[in-house]
Symmetry: C2
Subunit: 326 residues, 2 copies
């Protein structure tokens, strides 16, 4: 059987998939820049594909049974264009890495790590700026509010709780409790989570219902020292409203890993926002790197391999996002 | 009763002590640069002092009952010069802050945070360097070896364990178990801890027995990718040996918060080492800042205040390092 990995984000998993799959599969890789002809030739006899997205431009794939998205987010999938008989699945394994990133970045904020880790770059210590003479903060005792308690939200909550934070959580579908969460706040009352938290961590999946979820109203509820952390998708937060809140020091700061725009083959260098977030003094910014650990790759490739095995053996697939239509 | 806080590192606690002490005390502060006359006048009727160190140069303090060191380390105390009848106590409250620092810095190392957090400084994302196209590491599954399981060692171990690390520990006085530690390795076999660990965290108090504890022999046991973390005292590690191991890439790297030399009033700008550690590519360096959080100040001032209350009420003192001599 044959699986096609489409796009450089996915073709990097090839070795890890090959190492973990147990049934006989031919793995074909199509990195970014592959021609339409190459893609068409690869898909014509493919049993499964692992892409980031799917749309009407994809060439015919008459044997296709499985679109195994190589990630959790299916916002790049146009479900109306999925061929009949094809199951769409997604994959995880990134939640632990992102959970680590969130607590690391919140501690870095508290401990003034970006500043203090550069202080000795000059080669000497100054008595007047020896850190001993001032005090920074710590995560112990802080209130961390987690918006959406899916896999990532739970990974953040358990780690923040283990480090001494009080953890609040809210989720669109009602929950009574979640690991690491001290108090679940009803979704309709999430303004209180924003108001009580020192850090608000946004992990909500992007969908038409959550686009622009965090705008002036919720940002306006935050403490003047409150820090918002976005590891969901850029568009879950209103770009203009967040920039204004930071530039006008209405909130304490932001830790941003996910963006409103991305480079692509046509625009290989792209500003991640229309606003110059990188010129603000109250931000920690990373290039959508939070989940991209070797551990994530190993775990995620293992999930893709398991579904290939399931398909080859006629077993039930894991992580089904949409069953096949007829 | 009267307590004198000596040195700028201690006088900063005055407000936090005043807020927490329950018995009537007059708090006199002597910041760095106070004259001999000012110190002499303050000590002549002091019941207690809170200094960092004590030596033969200190003026007479005939009423003195308590030297309450404002920290854990008593390496700046010349015990031979302590007046008769005086109890020496120390104080803690820094261990949680240092525990946070250690796991934060180890995660920063794994996640390449110093590099990735600067990647958007240029204002755009480049497709070729989008972090998605490479993978960094995570702390989950790493082996963390903690050298000395005192307050700080335990604070590191419990946090590293909660984040998914396997934790090894060793301690000069034998222990059967410690919180967060998966395996206690006998002190005499600590080379094995160095050999098996991805991170070796040194938390050992400096004493004549531990000066230069980590030298070529133990560094030579480390993995080529192993990272040493020092939050103890600089001199616990041999300066020349560590620099050589890093410069020659014999070990993976170092996270260094404590140094071999410090600035003082006479030399307000001082290199922290005779070697240019700051020019090495494989280091994370901070200016002895790991423990200096507002939470530490509040907790430590609370311990000082408690001992002042104990003294005023004739109660037993906490954290006695040396009982009074007669």
């Amino acid at each position: 059987m044959k699986v096609v990995l489409i796009g450089t984000l996915v073709t990097g998993y090839a070795d890890d998939i090959a190492a973990q799959v147990k049934t006989p599969w031919t793995i074909k890789t199509l990195p970014d820049g592959s021609s339409k002809e190459e893609i068409a030739a690869a898909l014509i006899d493919a049993d499964a594909v692992s892409p980031i997205g799917w749309n009407a431009q994809m060439p015919p794939a008459p044997k296709l049974k499985l679109i195994q998205v190589a990630g959790a987010g299916t916002d790049a999938i146009d479900f109306a264009t999925i061929p009949k008989g094809v199951t769409v699945c997604n994959a995880f394994g990134h939640e632990g890495a992102i959970g680590e990133y969130c607590v690391m970045a919140m501690m870095a904020w508290c401990h003034e790590f970006p500043k203090l880790s550069r202080e000795l770059d000059k080669g000497f210590m100054r008595q007047t700026d020896r850190a001993n003479l001032r005090h920074h903060d710590e995560i112990d005792g802080k209130t961390v509010g987690v918006v959406s308690l899916g896999r990532i939200g739970k990974a953040v909550a358990t780690r923040a709780k283990a480090l001494g934070a009080r953890v609040l959580g809210c989720n669109r579908s009602a929950m009574k409790e979640a690991p690491g969460v001290d108090e679940i706040i009803p979704w309709d009352d999430k303004g209180r989570l924003f108001a009580e938290s020192d850090f608000v961590v946004v992990t909500t999946a992007l969908s038409p219902e959550t686009k622009g979820l965090v705008g002036p109203a919720l940002l306006g509820r935050m403490k003047p020292t409150g820090v918002i952390v976005n590891v969901a998708r850029g568009a879950v937060i209103e770009e203009d409203a967040l920039y204004a809140a930071l530039a006008e020091h209405k909130i304490g700061g932001a830790i941003i890993d996910v963006w409103w725009s991305y480079p692509n083959a046509a625009t290989p260098e792209a500003p991640p926002s229309k606003h110059p977030f990188h010129k603000l003094p109250n931000v920690i910014l990373t290039p959508h790197s939070s989940g991209w650990t070797t551990g994530m790759r190993r775990r995620r490739a293992g999930q893709v391999a398991a579904n290939l095995d399931h398909l080859a053996r006629g077993e039930k697939l894991d992580n089904v996002v949409r069953p096949p239509t007829s």
